[in-house]
């Protein structure tokens, strides 16, 4: 499939049937082969994002959020192997796609913003040139037009004096500025899907809100689908239409944001909500979540990986398969939900 065909396919799919998800991840499993054993990093992960919608993927570090993102981008490390499931992007089977098709898709139809903005920019290339690289690769601009277009993109993400800043190196810009450059890079070719992986980690609190408003504002304005990956449930509630909660490589609960907050069904979700600061709650009222993620290298991993941390656990919780109950727009992976 050539790149033009792929692009029109995605856009056509998005336009023709708005309720067909832009991205559908179904039953995805990923393993890492390491020297100390096989890490079952993702197990049966399913997600959907529609056009114009924002999905939050929330969980502790190590829960498999970033692995999911990299799997969707098909940018997993060489040690990782996708052992099962499907990833469909705009009707295209991402797992069957060839490297050239994937490279054509990335950055144009499907883009990503990274945590640690400065480290995700080439340290010895002016930021304008880096944006021009992406434009020249996908955007159909000429070499002569690229610098002006790059400066225009910098202006769009709210960088003052964009012509001058385009010549700056990442080390000459603040973290917030670097993340704006990262956003400009990701949105340069107006992709259909944006994955934002902890886009505000490492930025100071005031910058965080500005960056989030910028990303989600641009995404909404362009009718893009967005996946926001964060460990911060509060942030996800503020910006996302629906939320998927991940724990130890499982999606334990998916629900529209309001419903998730009003009636969490999975005990882990309930505890995450209990641990999230919100107006009218004193610090002392915040609960911490006991225990830690199980060792995903274990041979005898129970079907429910939350078992060891769950106060509601019963003996049959360990037995396979992990039940996944789906009703309306909600899913919960618990034998004895709240």
């Amino acid at each position: 499939m050539n790149d033009v065909a792929a692009a029109t396919l995605v856009q056509a799919a998005a336009r023709a049937a708005p309720r067909v998800p832009v991205l559908e991840v179904a039953d995805l499993s990923v393993e890492f082969r390491t020297r100390s054993g096989t890490v079952r990093a993702l197990d049966g992960v399913s997600l959907q994002v529609h056009r114009g919608e924002c999905l939050g993927v929330v969980g502790e570090s190590g829960s498999g959020k970033s692995v999911t993102a990299y799997a969707v981008m098909r940018l997993l490390d060489p040690a990782a192997r996708i052992t099962g499931g499907r990833i469909t992007f705009g009707g295209m089977d991402m797992l069957g796609a060839g490297d050239a098709d994937l490279a054509d898709l990335r950055g144009r139809e499907l883009s990503m913003i990274f945590q640690n903005p400065r480290a995700s920019l080439n340290p010895i290339r002016p930021v304008g040139t880096q944006i021009a690289d992406v434009l020249l690769r996908h955007g159909g601009v000429t070499r002569a037009q690229a610098p002006a277009r790059a400066a225009a993109l910098l202006a769009e993400v709210g960088i003052p004096d964009p012509e001058r800043r385009a010549r700056a190196y990442p080390f000459e810009l603040s973290g917030g500025m670097c993340q704006r450059v990262g956003i400009a890079l990701a949105l340069a070719c107006r992709p259909a899907l944006l994955i934002a992986d902890e886009p505000t980690t490492g930025l100071d609190v005031t910058t965080q809100a500005v960056i989030m408003d910028l990303v989600l504002g641009l995404a909404r304005a362009r009718g893009m689908a967005t996946v926001l990956i964060t460990h911060d449930l509060g942030l996800a509630t503020e910006y996302c239409d629906s939320i998927a909660v991940m724990h130890a490589g499982h999606v334990v609960e998916t629900a529209p944001t309001a419903a998730l907050f009003a009636t969490p069904r999975h005990p882990y979700t309930a505890r995450l909500i209990g641990a999230t600061p919100r107006p009218g709650l004193a610090l002392g009222d915040l609960a911490s979540i006991a225990g830690s993620l199980p060792d995903l290298r274990r041979e005898d991993l129970p079907a429910c990986r939350f078992l060891d941390r769950c106060e509601r656990a019963r003996p049959d919780c360990a037995a396979a398969p992990l039940p996944r109950r789906t009703e309306a727009a909600r899913m919960v992976a618990c034998r004895y939900p709240l």
Binding site: A103, G107, F114, N116, S120, I124, R125, R137
Partner: protein, 338 residues
Amino acid sequence: MMLAVIARRLAAALPTLAGVVVVTFLLTRALPGDPAAYFAGPAATREAVEQIRAQLGLDRSLGMQFLGYLRELARGDLGLSITTGQPVLSDIVARLPASAELTLLALLFAALAGISLGVLAALRPNGWLDNLCRVIATLGVCLPAFFTGLLLIYVFYYLLGWAPAPLGRLNAFAAPPPHVTGFFLIDSLLAGQGETFRSALAQILLPALSLGIFAVAPIARITRGSMLAVMSSDFIRAARAHGLSGRTVVIAYALRNALLPVVTTLGMVFSFLLGANVLIEKVFAWPGIGSYAVEALIASDYAPVQGFVMTMGFLYVLLNLAIDLLYRVIDPRMEVTA
């Protein structure tokens, strides 16, 4: 801006250059036995020796002698060579291009081979090229350069008959090209003398190869290591996520960053090359300053040896300066921290 940087770095190199002068002076003073008696020759009378002692200034204090030495240096007077009967400075100036041509060609070969090998090894860790790289990095540093030279002569001159006799820069029938740069390869091309160019190339190939092989190992090892580190860094993953082509990612993004540590080790590589150069010149009867110094050493003719040591010291300091400036050109971050 660049000029100011060059001036600052030159100023910073002055103490080192002064150190070179002091060390060379001390080496002159440490001549075995009585230099006056030595210069006067075995048949000299006592008065003749004393006269020479006064002439050489050896009857004065060390400080006065040092001042005298500095005066001579300022006039470009490095003494006379007993073997050639010429001033050491003019001998060295006449022979320097031969050494420089050989060393630079060897460096070019070593850099091309070492960097490509290191990059290819890093792109496929544990592939056959990676293993080859590891073997070369381990064995390469164990090879005495003079021994490699002899092996190559045996194989390519004696067994295969491909290489000309290892005797100098041109075969017996060719005349040197008109002097412009002193580099026969360049001068013969400038003069349009194809035959001379071929002869010069045939002569220089084996010595440059023997010298270069010595330097391939460290360059390949460092390139491999730094390339591996860069390839797993965030900004490379980000560049992939933006769909940049494999070529752009590897060359414009990864390699340029990976070259920074390689450039910093060029100083060490030059130290090896300039030292091994002496041995290679002896093996191939190459009329450079190394073989000049060796011939003088064997004839106990010390002024050329000291002139040689000082020239090499100066050259090496200047080379390190050039490497430093090259680093600044590649890495924009240096401007600020300097």
